[in-house]
Amino acid sequence: MSFAETTGLLLSAVARLITGAQGHWKGCPPTTDQRIYFANHQSHFDWVLIWAALPRELRAVTRPIAARDYWTSSKLKGWLTAAVFNAIYVSRTRSTPDEDPLEPLVDALGNGDSLVIFPEGTRSNKGDPQAFKAGLFHLAEQFPQVQLIPTWIDNVQRVMPKGEVVPVPILCTVTFGEPLKLAPGEDKREFLERARAAVMAQRPVVERS
């Protein structure tokens, strides 16, 4: 086993110890079908949590998206994203007007990889997720055979609030919902609103007695 693989296992073990990282497969079983998991985004910890909640076989083929300017700025960050997580780098700014920021994602999907994306584009602090960016719609249009899995990550904002470095142990869950399909002729805005609702529908209800 390589050093990067060992680090990956270690990281998922730490994530499990701190958050429990329980995956609840409510709407679909964990299979190796090609998928795009789209989730709410509250913390830097989100990706690690999804990664730890996935079965080991799926981790190798499921890739996160990382902002190139931030995640290649130091050697450690570059190694972590490239070697351990096999991340796909995207640029936040376009160098030329006709550069497509989705191109690396399209390439990866063409290779048969699964992706985890956070369509809000940024971390939201509390409550409901913000409006989704259009990327999800374009990917769904280009790859109709890829399953779109709405995913809700619960409680993680309490583990590591913005600005803190040490995580606090609190149980988190990752709920995977039923695959979403782009309806024929569906409008972009309609679809994104439906996708956002599907993510929010996975939020666990607090059981009251």
């Binding site: 429990g20 609840h24 606090v168 142990p169 609190i170 149980l171 009251r208």
Partner: protein, 326 residues
Amino acid sequence: MRALRSWSASDQIALLFLILFGLLIVISLSAFLYSLKEHPPSQRREDNWRQFRRDLNAIWVGSCLFWAAWISGPVGATLLFGVLSFLALREFITLMHTHRADHRSLILAFFVLLPLQYVLVGTRHFDLFSVLIPVYGFVAIPVASALAGDPRRFLERNAKIQWGIMVCIYGLSHAPALLLLEFKGYEGRGAFLLFFLVIVVGIGQIVQEVASRSLRRRPVARRISRSFSLQAWVGGLLAAGLTGALLYWITPFKVGQALVMALIAASSGTLGGLVMKALKRDAGVVYWGNRSSITGAIGLLDRVAVMCFAAPVFFHSVRWYFKASL
């Protein structure tokens, strides 16, 4: 009996485990055989059966942990209970809805107080061990919280954290302390004390459960627990006291003393259980932990809560008894 007394402490303890696991295997086997038989479907029987299975599983887990704690010696026992404390506190804090400003206090609780408390147990510094959390931790937590600069619900937030620490760290850490505390003339037999405590508290709890189901008396505090009635509680206590008296020979106590010790342990345990129920109601859950969970083993707090209350009371009572100079 005399021959047994002449055995070494570790042989006696090995025999204890042999009997314990033998009994458990017999019970589990008969439960399995019973489950093969056809029964007329009834909701009540189904519920009781499920409850019984849950209790039996909990007892199995507890016994295995107890055995693991014993064979792994002071370091292992400390580590084991340390991890249990960590998991229990994690569960407690999850359900207590802490705020952002509590972050530093929680780090202090999880990563400073918890390891420190267990290091003190492992190294047998029992004088500092008894006061670290009630005295030093009591000051440290609100200070960390005040420094975070958020006055909203300050008392409530700190009370939650202090409570979690007292129950999940302080309370539970008294279990390995019992294993490690050395009394004059009773060296190396701490496992018997822990065993005595677990059995007595467990019997008290089970008898109380059964009694409240069959007696169906008026509950003392209906809105907290529908099953907790005075008669059932007394029944549980009597059973625990009787068990304690019957087990006197594994303890340093005389018969009457063992009875009193058992009563003390069982009453603090069962009443502690009631307190935990009130806390759960307050948090709005029936069981600790997420019932819809498919993977991970949570709901641990339900299993250890009673011990968290019984262990410190029992520990300090035993210390009084021995007037152990610490």
